[in-house]
């Protein structure tokens, strides 16, 4: 989608991980309440996910804002599709839309 090597690196991460969360800190030690909230949601649904700590890579942090057209973190991707940030993930979890999305995309829950 782009010759930008950073975008290619991001794209590779997104392609390789069915559920991918770009966040501040790690799943064990989130460094931001909004990132922590999304980790909690993913744990609640029992899906397998990978996290990338954008505080450790400022290039990726800036690149992701452009790549996703989204200025804030966390950012959740499911099967290559940008789902949203904390507000959207929480809203979708509450409405049942997130479970539906995992189902549609063939992401196993309850693990």
């Amino acid at each position: 989608m782009s010759d930008n090597p950073l975008f290619q690196q991001i794209q590779a991460e997104v392609d390789a991980n069915p559920v991918l969360l770009f966040m501040k800190g790690s799943a064990m030690f989130p460094q931001c309440g909004f990132s922590a909230a999304v980790v909690q949601v993913l744990n609640h649904f029992g899906v397998k996910y990978k996290t990338v700590n954008i505080l450790e890579n400022d290039d990726m942090r800036q690149g992701l804002k452009e790549y996703s057209s989204w200025p804030t973190f966390p950012q959740l991707y499911v099967k290559g599709e940008f789902v949203g940030g904390c507000d959207i993930v929480r809203e979708m979890a509450a409405s049942g839309d997130l479970a539906k999305l995992f189902e549609e995309k063939g992401v196993e829950m309850g693990q």
Binding site: F34, L55, D58, R61, S69, W70, P71, T72, F82, G84
Partner: protein, 108 residues
């Protein structure tokens, strides 16, 4: 339209003006939650030069925004938030560190 909450800071004012002009919302609620986050300014500063908006304890860093407007009818959740983020790009870059969004079309 009804603005049930009007924080008085300059950034709140700017955001309210822009949002009102762009979306003529039926409902616009902006709450300044900065005081709840005053405690983590040290931690953010300790993270080093991250391009972060300042969290200096002077407020106007963390907001919660609720918007209801016909402008959002037929738009996805992601599209709606992008519309708001795009409009408030400068405020987010300069100062506002967190903007929690609840966005609806009328009747939702």
């Amino acid at each position: 339209m009804s603005n049930s909450l009007h924080p008085e800071g300059p950034y709140a004012r700017r955001m309210i003006d822009k949002l009102t002009a762009a979306f003529t919302p039926e409902l616009l609620e902006l709450k300044d939650d900065s005081h709840k986050h005053a405690g983590h300014s040290d931690r953010i500063a300790a993270l080093g030069p991250s391009g972060h908006a300042p969290v200096d304890g002077a407020g106007e860093t963390h907001f919660r925004l609720t918007l209801v407007s016909t402008a959002f009818a037929g738009k996805s959740r992601v599209e709606r938030q992008r519309m708001v983020y795009d409009l408030l790009r400068d405020e987010l870059k300069e100062r506002v560190h967190a903007l929690a969004l609840t966005i609806r079309a009328p009747g939702e």
